[in-house]
């Protein structure tokens, strides 16, 4: 009797294991975590719009109809690395999240990068700018989708130096992102024969820039490089107009400017600014169609920013890779390898590829902000002035310090 019960117990256990084995091979459940700044200075360029973009990517993938179960949860990292990593840990340990998307704010993004590598999850970063994510701090679990500081420096920065802006003063946000953008832009400026005459580091989320602007004005630099983002950039540009900086002959280089920033500054003040993005809602019929669906679901009817577009495209590509794998192996490195092996193609960024260091390569576009008289609608802000192909815009693999390339 005793022997029989042990035998049946063993049999049951064996059957359970077998069943589990079959289940993991065909496991079609996915949990996506959209981690962003949900209420602070980056909330409009990522935030709830990024969660919406992820939802739309899931809907458009058609996987749910094929029997997949895909859940999305969202979290607010409040621009604090400790909060960001705590959420990421909880998501992997308790909520069994497979992939974390968006994560604007380079400081938080780099911290979360380590957690995801440790937990062997998948990281599709769209919101953060630092080029370190695919360079010195690259990870086999990470794909950096939309843009980075190297690209911004080699497009906007380079164009300005070549147009005669050979002396620069930096207004830099005092954290990982500002430091990376200043570093990458400085390299471009000096390589092209320009020089850096000074700079000032300001705390993140500064309401008043007048002290810093006066210092920039006194430096007599031809170009004032804004190595900041979101609300900091809009405040700087608005207050620079007040202090007559542009009228005085100095030029502002908005190294990173988003659609929502232009809206906040207003065309009257923002007109004529040159900057680079990899996505604009009004590029072609496909982007317009997507943006129409997107803004219909946004509370303030805003079209997608490039960060939100990057979340959509990144999640689409991730789901394509899972479909090609025939199920979710819950193995971050394996999934990211699959993603890298497939060329990227979607309605928003067109054709591209993911390099071995995790960097997604696609076109970058130089834009100029329209004059108020040229704008035909509430979000009609940009004029395309140039296109830079992906291999020109992003870090060449020969220059990348990523350890993954040494294999």
């Amino acid at each position: 009797m005793k022997t029989r019960s042990i035998a049946s117990l063993l049999l049951t256990t064996a059957l359970t294991f077998a069943a589990a084995g079959v289940a993991s091979a065909q496991d079609k459940t996915v949990k996506i975590g959209a981690l962003s700044d949900q209420s602070g200075l980056y909330a409009d360029l990522g935030g709830p719009g990024s969660t919406l973009a992820a939802q739309m990517a899931v809907e458009d993938s058609g996987l749910v109809a094929k029997g997949w179960k895909i859940d999305i949860i969202s979290g607010d990292h409040q621009n604090k690395p400790d909060i960001g990593t705590a959420i990421a840990r909880q998501w992997f340990d308790v909520d069994k999240v497979d992939v974390i998307v968006d994560v604007p704010n380079s400081g938080v993004a780099l911290a979360v990068n380590n957690v995801i590598k440790e937990k062997n999850g998948v990281y599709i970063n769209s919101g953060a700018a630092t080029s370190d994510l695919t360079n010195a701090q690259c990870s086999p679990n990470t794909v950096h989708w939309t843009y980075d500081t190297y690209m911004l420096a080699h497009t906007t920065g380079q164009a300005l130096v070549k147009a005669g802006g050979d002396s620069w003063f930096f207004l830099t946000a005092d954290y990982a992102f500002g430091a990376a953008l200043e570093r990458d832009t400085t390299a471009v400026v000096t390589a092209n024969g320009g020089k850096i005459v000074g700079g000032v580091k300001h705390p993140l989320n500064t309401p008043d820039f007048s002290s810093f602007l006066l210092q920039a004005q006194a430096s007599k630099a031809k170009i004032i490089g804004l190595a900041n983002a979101g609300g900091d950039t809009t405040n700087t540009i608005k207050q620079a107009a007040e202090f007559g900086i542009v009228k005085g002959g100095q030029k502002l280089a908005a190294l990173l400017l988003f659609l929502t920033d232009v809206k906040a500054i207003g065309l009257e003040t923002a007109q004529g600014l040159n900057f680079t993005e990899t996505f604009y809602w009004d590029m072609d019929d496909k982007t317009r169609a997507f943006s129409k669906r997107f803004s219909a679901k946004m509370k303030n009817s805003a079209p997608p920013t490039m960060v939100q577009a990057g979340v959509y495209a990144g999640v689409r590509h991730y789901l394509k890779a899972l479909e090609a794998l025939g199920g979710n192996p819950h193995d971050g490195v394996k999934i990211v390898e699959k993603m890298k092996s497939m060329p990227t193609e979607d309605d928003l960024f067109g054709k591209g590829e993911i390099q071995p260091n995790g960097r997604t390569i696609h076109n970058a576009y130089l834009f100029e902000v329209k004059k108020p008289s040229e704008s035909k609608g509430p979000w009609d802000f940009y004029k395309l002035v140039g296109t830079v192909s992906g291999d020109q815009a992003f870090t060449p693999l020969s220059e990348s310090k990523c350890a993954l390339l040494k294999k």
């Binding site: 209420s39 602070g40 200075l41 909330a43 409009d44 360029l45 935030g47 005092d174 000032v200 580091k201 300001h202 705390p203 989320n205 500064t206 309401p207 008043d208 007048s210 002290s211 810093f212 006066l214 210092q215 004005q217 006194a218 979101g230 609300g231 809009t234 405040n235 608005k238 207050q239 007040e242 202090f243 007559g244 005085g248 929502t260 920033d261 809206k263 906040a264 500054i265 207003g266 009257e268 003040t269 509370k299 303030n300 805003a302």
Partner: protein
């Protein structure tokens, strides 16, 4: 040296906002004994009302300077009548929690509808441009902010410290029962005082709308600094909060010049120092 003058002036401009806001807080704390954490949200509402007046009603900046404080002031008085008045006599903590909750709700509602990156509000035509002072280019609007807020601050101080009405108010805080015995409607006076404090916040909001973005969180970012100003100046002291407001603006401006990385912490370092040496604040009296 020239750069230093410029930084002093810029500091004075920021000090104007600190002074206006901390003045409102001081009035409310001094007269109602409430730590009004909703002050930042009400400041933000002032800026939004100015934005709505301009974009929906075509009402310009000058009228907004008058109307926004009244509209937000009425909102404040409704808050006082419906909620705050029930907290009379309770521990400070209750007022703090209630107003903090109100601030979160108001900010949340605005953020839900307007996002976080803000709306543009242009400088009125009459105050556009700037003048070259030799050591700096002073935008006329900024000069206006300093002068106007200084006038408003002094007028408020005069009203409370030097007039008959102010005397009733101060008496009502000391001993409400006795003042009531003289036939004065104390609850109504308290409500009006709260309205005045809130109106000052809204006025600061209108003044800042053309300089900063009109953003739901514009007050949340500022209010913590303003509380530090009030604590340094001495809770409830009218003149103390005006002077500390301007002085801290200048100190912060100088920090931005000499060591910018510390510019958002210098106020709190000062607060710690003042509390260690003189716990009632610079001009405060022991309770």
């Amino acid at each position: 040296m020239q750069a230093l003058y410029a930084q002093l002036l810029v500091g004075l401009i920021n000090g104007s906002f600190y002074a206006l806001l901390s003045l409102g807080l001081a009035v409310i704390f001094g007269m109602l004994n409430i730590i009004n954490f909703a002050h930042g949200a009400l400041y933000m509402m002032g800026a939004f009302v100015a934005y709505f007046l301009l974009n929906l009603g075509g009402i310009n900046y000058w009228w907004a300077l008058l109307l926004a404080p009244i509209i937000v002031g009425i909102f404040g008085m409704i808050l006082e009548r419906t909620m705050l008045q029930w907290l009379t006599g309770l521990d400070h903590l209750y007022g703090l929690l209630l107003t903090f909750g109100i601030a979160l709700i108001v900010q949340g509602v605005f953020q839900n509808y307007f996002g976080s990156s803000g709306l543009p509000y242009a400088i009125p035509d009459q105050l556009k441009g700037g003048m070259n002072l030799g050591f700096m280019f002073l935008p006329i609007y900024r000069g206006w902010v300093v002068v106007f807020s200084l006038v408003v601050c002094l007028a408020t101080w005069f009203l409370i410290e030097k007039t008959q009405l102010g005397a009733y108010l101060r008496a009502a805080t000391e001993n409400p029962t006795l003042v009531r015995a003289f036939g004065i409607n104390v609850p109504r006076m308290i409500t009006l005082t709260y309205g005045l404090g809130v109106g000052l916040a809204a006025l600061a909001g209108v003044l800042s709308a053309p300089i900063n973005q009109v953003r739901p969180l514009m007050g949340a970012d500022l209010i913590i600094v303003v509380f530090a100003v009030v604590v340094i100046g001495g809770m409830g002291s009218i003149m103390g909060s005006i002077i500390t407001g301007f002085a801290l603006g200048v100190i912060e401006g100088l920090t931005k010049y000499f060591y910018p990385e510390a510019s958002n912490t210098v106020v709190f370092v000062l607060m710690v120092l003042v509390l260690l040496v003189k716990p009632t604040g610079l001009t405060g009296r022991a309770a």
